[in-house]
Amino acid sequence: MTESTHSSEGGGQETHEGLVQPAGEHDPTGMASTGGYHLTPSAVVPPSATARGTSDMFGAAFGSDTSGFGGLVEKRAAPVSTPKPYGGWFDEATDALEAAWPGFAEHVLRVVVDRGELTIYVTPESIADVAKTLRDEPNLRFELLSSVSGVDYPAEQTRLHAVYHFTSMTYRRRLRVEVAVTFEDPHVPSVCSVYPTADFQEREAWDMFGIVFDGHPALTRILMPDDWDGHPQRKDYPLGGIPVEYKGASIPPPDERRAYS
């Protein structure tokens, strides 16, 4: 259950960007095990660096797609960072946040606009301040914290992301704020005091991803049993196979099965 296992089994190869490329891209049959760990993080990978950037919708490279559609579909990667102006109300909201929150310049790492959604990446230590500003500032008024969840991006140094979805009922807007921490220091301040609704959700993110929300009133497991070991939704969590009572065979765990993708 450490991060050291994540890139060893994937059958991928390290590129100079430090990304692990999927084995399937170099395997025309597509039969090689992908191991599940070749995943390239969204919104972090520059478009030029995505291994899948130029392959078609079926993922075939080197002209091995015999369906006749090879190369017709140009896929795009998620943007790393969006330059101003963002368009729509996004500029208004980010300007309001900048005006109301002195830590904006220091703590906002990136702003991404993708598929009509605004994501603000901030430093972990500032999340409670951001939440309070978003809730209280008259020009923002994000009264509702819709969702808190975790995502594990194994290809990143700060691989554990906590993702917050805010909803403004006054202006009918939605906004995503994301913070990233490492396995070694998975500490994020709790926003429970600002949004009590975060209570169960932060407990779930702790349970599933091992993100420690400092200041949470009772950060205990919520879905798994209290004495459970490990955090199941991390990408390197070992998955069990299923023994079959026939000549000692067993069904391999999902991430070791033959994959077509």
């Binding site: 995943l39 919104a43 995502v151 009922m169 879905l223």
Partner: protein
């Protein structure tokens, strides 16, 4: 072996497995003396209890009959759906999400599919969207009827249960006609719906509406004017709008506190802006208000279904993009619904490209461009949100579902504490949590 401090008047001894207390019978005086001055009693209600709305455990701290502290313990129905989805392709994900909130499967499917479609950037055909609206509103009626049935049963109104389940079965019959299954439909798919409405479905739904128009008022007659039902719900489980927002509570609970927040109106999806319906609210912020709101919502859903049936125009029900649309050409054969033999003949005999397409889509599925989206719809219980992350592959990188049952359940403590233990039942019933959704 050492003897330790007696607890609750019982002597204990240390063993390798911890302290073991030997509790024997005795005089009541000794029991009272052993308890000391502390009159608190902690009661574990559930997880197997007919009145906790599923496998929910309530840890209640009681003083007499008054609840001084209530904590909900969940996780008994955790099935790891979010993790499992990461090892199936995007289309197979539907089969998982439909099982989360098992009383609102169509909503789970639609929320998930809207997220996948937003990631893909595809436009769903008009007819598919209308069918989705039709099925969602049918499902909303079924879900609210189950709430009436189980909520009534938990408060002792057994006729509400038999009536509620009877009417719900009629709605499920319609959903079965359309999707093939009563529950866990997996009918809404990324790009559209699995198949078009079968012949006779529209007539059947119209027939259902006629029946419901007669039957829903029966619920009103049975419960609304009934003094016991009123006394069990009025001024019970109070939570005002501010408390709702702080605790993230949405849906009928928020609307019973007077805030007309309904995503179908405030952030329309699936063309809801073109339907005419009202958002029922109440101002009492209690269990009674939630009852009234849900009954009124059943009637509003019937209006929407009526309009959806009128809006149905012939057309495709799956995106025309052959790289995404599921290649099924379903037809009714002698052994039931299955792949059309003509289609099999075509792909096997005459078109290698079609065969390859079929094989690729079915074995590995389509690729979804990298990125993340959040889509939210109004489920019978509130905001059902799906946060879907793609890494560009054929499987979801991460899918998180913001389940309204899970979030709303947090309000149980606020509603129960300080009330009588009997009202705790009414409070949990008025939240309407579905444990399949809470635990996922």
């Amino acid at each position: 072996m050492t003897t330790t401090e007696p607890l609750y008047g019982a002597p204990g001894r240390e063993t390798t497995e911890g302290t073991v207390y030997t509790v024997t019978g005795g005089d009541w005086d000794a029991v009272v003396a052993g308890a000391g001055d502390d009159q608190r009693m902690v009661v574990n209600m559930g997880p197997q209890h007919p009145s906790t709305h599923g496998v929910l455990r309530l840890v209640l701290e009681l003083e007499g009959e008054t609840v001084t502290s209530a904590r909900t313990v969940i996780g008994y129905l955790h099935t790891g759906i979010e993790k499992n989805m990461e090892y199936r392709n995007w289309t197979q994900g539907v089969t998982f999400v439909t099982r989360m909130d098992y009383l609102a499967p169509i909503f789970n499917e639609t929320a998930y599919c809207l997220a996948v479609e937003k990631l893909l950037g595809v436009e769903v055909p008009e007819r598919a969207t209308t069918i989705r609206v039709l099925c969602m509103e049918l499902n909303r009626i079924a879900s609210h009827l189950v709430w009436l049935a189980t909520g009534g049963m938990e408060l002792g109104a057994l006729t509400a249960m038999t009536n509620g389940f009877r009417e719900r079965e009629l709605v499920l019959d319609c959903l079965e006609t359309i999707t093939g299954l009563r529950m866990n439909h997996a009918y809404v798919r990324p790009g559209g719906v699995a198949q078009d409405l079968p012949p006779g479905a529209v007539e059947k739904v119209r027939e259902l509406l006629k029946t419901l128009e007669k039957r829903v008022p029966i619920v009103d007659d049975l419960l609304t004017g009934q003094p016991i039902w009123q006394k069990r719900l009025q001024d019970v489980a109070f939570l005002d709008a501010q408390g709702c927002l702080a605790l993230g509570v949405t849906g009928p609970i928020l609307r019973s506190a007077g805030l007309a927040w309904d995503l179908r109106k405030t952030q329309p999806y699936c063309g809801y802006e073109d339907y005419e319906f009202d958002v029922p609210t109440a101002t009492s912020s209690d269990g009674w208000g939630r009852f009234m709101v849900r009954v009124a919502e059943i009637k509003e859903s019937m209006k929407i279904i009526e309009q959806a049936l009128d809006r149905l125009q012939p057309g495709p029900v799956m995106v025309q993009d052959k790289k995404i649309g599921w290649p099924a050409q379903l037809a009714l054969g002698s052994d039931g619904m299955g792949q059309s033999l003509d289609h099999v003949k075509k792909i096997m005999g005459t078109s290698m490209e079609a065969l390859i397409h079929h094989f690729k889509l079915v074995t590995e599925g389509f690729r979804v461009p990298a990125g993340q989206v959040y889509t939210a719809i109004e489920s019978p219980r509130g905001e059902l949100g799906v946060h879907a992350v793609s890494d560009g592959g054929t499987r979801p990188f991460r899918v998180h579902v913001r389940e309204p049952s899970f979030i709303n359940l947090q309000s149980a403590s606020a509603m129960c504490e300080g009330s009588l233990i009997a009202d705790a039942i009414a409070a949990v019933a008025s939240i309407d949590p579905v444990m399949g959704g809470v635990d996922r």
